[in-house]
């Protein structure tokens, strides 16, 4: 029985994989479960970008790309299964889109010499490349996000927020707990009062949290939510008539689908952003021509231009640029995961690179180095315009408070280094 299963599995894999060389990008997606609202468009964007490269350019550097999709349902056990079943196919980089799965994969992937790119999620202190040799979280991480939210509140209040009350509504998981330390440090620095409100998985039940907000009347609310939790929070905020312009979500809490259910009442909701909004970029013309019109779009093909779709495009684009860098460094086109890691570590994104990819001004310029796997941490702010039905960028990519964040990164990564006996990556 077991032998039969084994041969069946092997036969299946062989039937699925073409013989020629290709660049494999596993996509640990989730199109089901309470987080599917964010998972579907991201996975579509990720897949569509690589389809476009294949159709338009014949792959990257002449080597075709292949996206291996594996459904995780945001569940860590399935994430492990997906990792194990895809890593043997020559996976170049993992982007699990889940902080829990990222935590799981950090030691495993490092041992297997496969890089992880946790773009705007995962373990924040992985920005310290000296400790986390195979983990990258450019262009910005959770702590940059917390600082960016506080910076925006500072701007709104003319630079003084001492004595203000700020509440953090967070997903009660590793993801939601990440910004707490940073916010505590920032509250010491700026003198605001921080209150913490945890929302348990999956986040449909938030009545008591918002009742507390109604009672305590914080001046601002910051949210670290994901999936169905976002929609419920925006609706609850609308119900207690919380002023939307004082409600700021992290980039995972700022998609169209999160605010649409609350209708006009969600007008003015703010969200941080890693990328520009909308589909007014040359790349989208190509996407329409080569991918959508030819019927090769992933999923239902109706997500183009939404915030998570754009983020999927951006993640794929950064991966593709890293492949190009790796091809240049090593002088081979069919690179391995170890070479991919070198490419990611030498990645430099400039205005010219973005324009050449058909995405001028889509994301910030940044560069990665051995010590710094987190980029410069530039974050933009967007605001929801319910009338037009779109997010509008209200503040351009701006730096965050690295004076506070850098010592925290050093501290947390040093603890990890000591706990796990990790050798230095950079010297």
């Amino acid at each position: 029985m077991k032998y039969k299963l084994g041969t069946m599995a092997v036969a299946g894999l062989m039937a699925a994989s073409p013989v020629m060389a290709d660049l494999v990008f596993p996509s640990l997606s989730y199109r089901t479960g309470p987080y599917a609202a964010g998972g579907i468009p991201f996975a579509d964007g990720y897949a569509d970008y690589f389809t476009l490269l294949n159709e338009r350019d014949g792959g990257i550097g002449g080597v075709m790309t292949r996206v291996l999709e594996c459904e995780t349902g945001y569940n860590t056990e399935k994430g492990v299964e997906c990792y194990e079943s895809t890593k043997g196919e020559g996976a170049l980089v993992y982007q699990p889109l889940s902080t829990g799965i990222t935590y799981q994969l950090i030691p495993k992937a490092t041992a297997d010499d496969i890089p992880i790119h946790s773009m705007g999620y995962g373990r924040t202190s992985a920005a310290n490349g000296d400790v986390f040799s195979h983990v990258f979280n450019y262009p910005a991480n959770y702590w940059n996000g917390a600082s960016a939210a506080i910076n925006h509140i500072l701007d709104m209040n003319g630079g003084d927020i001492s004595g203000k009350k700020i509440a953090l509504v967070y997903h009660n998981s590793a993801y939601g707990k990440e910004p707490i330390r940073t916010l505590e440090k920032l509250s010491e620095k700026h003198g605001f009062e921080l209150s913490l409100l945890a929302v348990d998985h999956p986040g449909q039940e938030q009545k008591s949290q918002w009742l507390q907000i109604r009672r305590e009347k914080p001046d601002n609310v910051i949210m670290y939510g994901w999936g169905v939790m976002n929609q419920v929070a925006v609706q609850e905020a609308a119900n207690i008539r919380f002023p939307m312009e004082n409600f700021i979500g992290i980039w995972w809490s700022g998609a169209e689908i999160d605010v649409q259910p609350a209708g006009d009442k969600a007008n003015g909701f703010k969200a941080l952003a890693l990328t520009a909004v909308g589909d007014d970029f040359p790349l989208y013309d190509d996407l329409q021509k080569y991918v959508v019109d030819t019927g090769k779009a992933a999923g239902a093909g109706d997500q183009l231009g939404t915030v998570p779709y754009n983020r999927g495009i951006y993640a794929a684009m950064l991966a593709a640029e890293a492949v190009k860098t790796a091809q240049e460094i090593h002088g081979v086109t069919d690179i391995t995961s170890g070479m991919m890691r070198d490419g990611m570590e030498a990645l430099e994104i400039t205005e010219e690179v973005m324009a050449a990819a058909g995405l001028p001004g889509f994301g910030p310029s940044f560069s990665v180095s051995c010590e710094n796997h987190g980029g410069e941490g530039m974050v933009a702010v967007t605001q929801w315009d319910a009338g037009a039905g779109e997010f509008v960028k209200i503040a351009d990519f701006a730096p965050t408070d690295m004076d506070v964040i850098q010592p925290l990164i050093e501290e947390d990564s040093a603890a990890y280094k000591a706990e796990n006996n990790i050798p230095s990556n950079c010297n």
Partner: protein
């Protein structure tokens, strides 16, 4: 044909009362053990261990534990996830507190700690029964998860609230962490699975097990014939939690390596293990294995068939998986309430009479 007791003479009482009195059964059991211990470790790779064997072995231990409580003693429990979390966090605290001690001892101690917690939450079972007990254990589930989320001592004050298994070995062989060999983790879990199954099997056919079953069948009658309900129910909770704690410790330390309590040990985990014993068969050690195998292998099998062979979209296959598992539970509850173990039993009965059924 060869599956029958004819010609298989027992001359002593121990021979007569052994677990597998029929020769064919006994040899089959030895062959399975031999293959599991001496053949599979040489053949497997990371994928087979991490996707199939490890979850199967670990869930089998959890199912055996829950089966003792629900199947043998009749005390419905929805707290399995919470008790697994106790095992996992106990193991984590022990691993980080005493790094030089062997993993075997840590896992066993984690089981013992869980047994103590299980007895504590088993106390209400002396007063309440059935649905009400299910609700009380449900409270244990939520309380324990809340506790491990709330008190940062349990996760060594890490910023994210996650626990990560550091590298630990036993007899110089790495058992936890990313650099382990496939065979080492497999054998480590296998040893605990065999140990749990043998202990559980022998407990359930001894006087303790008979007391549990007497309580399950009719507690008042059991009390009248001299079974002490306090002792019987609390031993059931203790033994059950011991196994569940071991499975939780293995689940965290060996299988996943990093765990977040709400996600890994939530209420869905309790239900999953409960489904395993319902599908596998209540009150049967074999049923625990069959149920665990069924619910671990089915999604993987469906994925291979649906995604890798037929090329269906991954979300369709994931939804189909839910539909099929849900449908099978309904079918089993209606058509065969005693689960896969009963099908196995019927098949064996038929085989013994074959080819001349009456």
């Amino acid at each position: 044909m060869f599956y029958r007791e004819a010609g298989d003479f027992s001359t002593t009482y121990p021979e007569d009362s052994q677990t597998f009195p029929i020769k064919f059964d006994r040899w089959r059991y030895y062959v399975v053990l031999f293959v599991a211990v001496f053949v599979i470790p040489f053949l497997i790779n990371d994928y087979w261990v991490n996707s199939i064997f490890m979850p199967f072995l670990i869930y089998a231990i959890a199912a055996i534990g829950l089966n003792i409580l629900v199947g043998y003693c009749g005390q419905v429990s929805l707290g399995t996830g919470g008790f697994m979390a106790v095992g996992a966090y106990a193991c984590y605290k022990l691993m980080t507190g005493f790094p030089e001690v062997s993993m075997f001892i840590h896992v066993l101690l984690a089981g013992a700690i869980t047994a103590a917690v299980g007895v504590l939450f088993g106390l209400p079972s002396l007063r309440i029964k059935g649905f009400y007990l299910a609700v009380a254990t449900l409270a244990a589930q939520f309380f324990l998860v809340w506790l491990f989320n709330r008190v940062s001592w349990f996760y060594n004050y890490s910023a994210s609230g996650q626990i990560n298994a550091p590298e630990r070995d036993t007899f110089g062989i790495l058992i936890t962490g990313p650099n382990t060999e496939a065979w080492a983790t497999y054998l480590f879990c296998l040893i605990f699975t065999i140990f749990s199954a043998v202990v559980a099997r022998n407990l359930t056919r001894g006087s303790v097990g008979r007391q549990w079953m007497a309580i399950r069948d009719m507690d008042i009658a059991a009390e009248i014939i001299g079974v002490n309900p306090l002792k019987a129910k609390l031993t059931a909770f203790a033994v059950s939690s011991f196994f569940v704690g071991i499975s939780g410790a293995l689940f965290f330390a060996i299988y996943l390596g990093a765990v977040e309590v709400g996600e890994a040990f939530g209420i869905t985990k309790s239900f999953l293990v409960l489904f395993m014993i319902i599908i596998g068969g209540l009150g049967s050690i074999f049923g625990s294995f069959a149920g665990a195998a069924f619910l671990v292998l089915l999604p993987v099998l469906l994925k291979i068939i649906g995604v890798d062979w037929l090329g269906w979209p991954t979300d369709i296959v994931a939804h189909l998986n839910l539909v099929i598992v849900g449908g099978l539970i309904v079918v089993f509850l209606i058509a065969e309430p005693h689960g896969l173990a009963q099908l196995w039993r019927v098949a064996k009965e038929k085989l013994r009479l074959w080819p001349f059924p009456h």
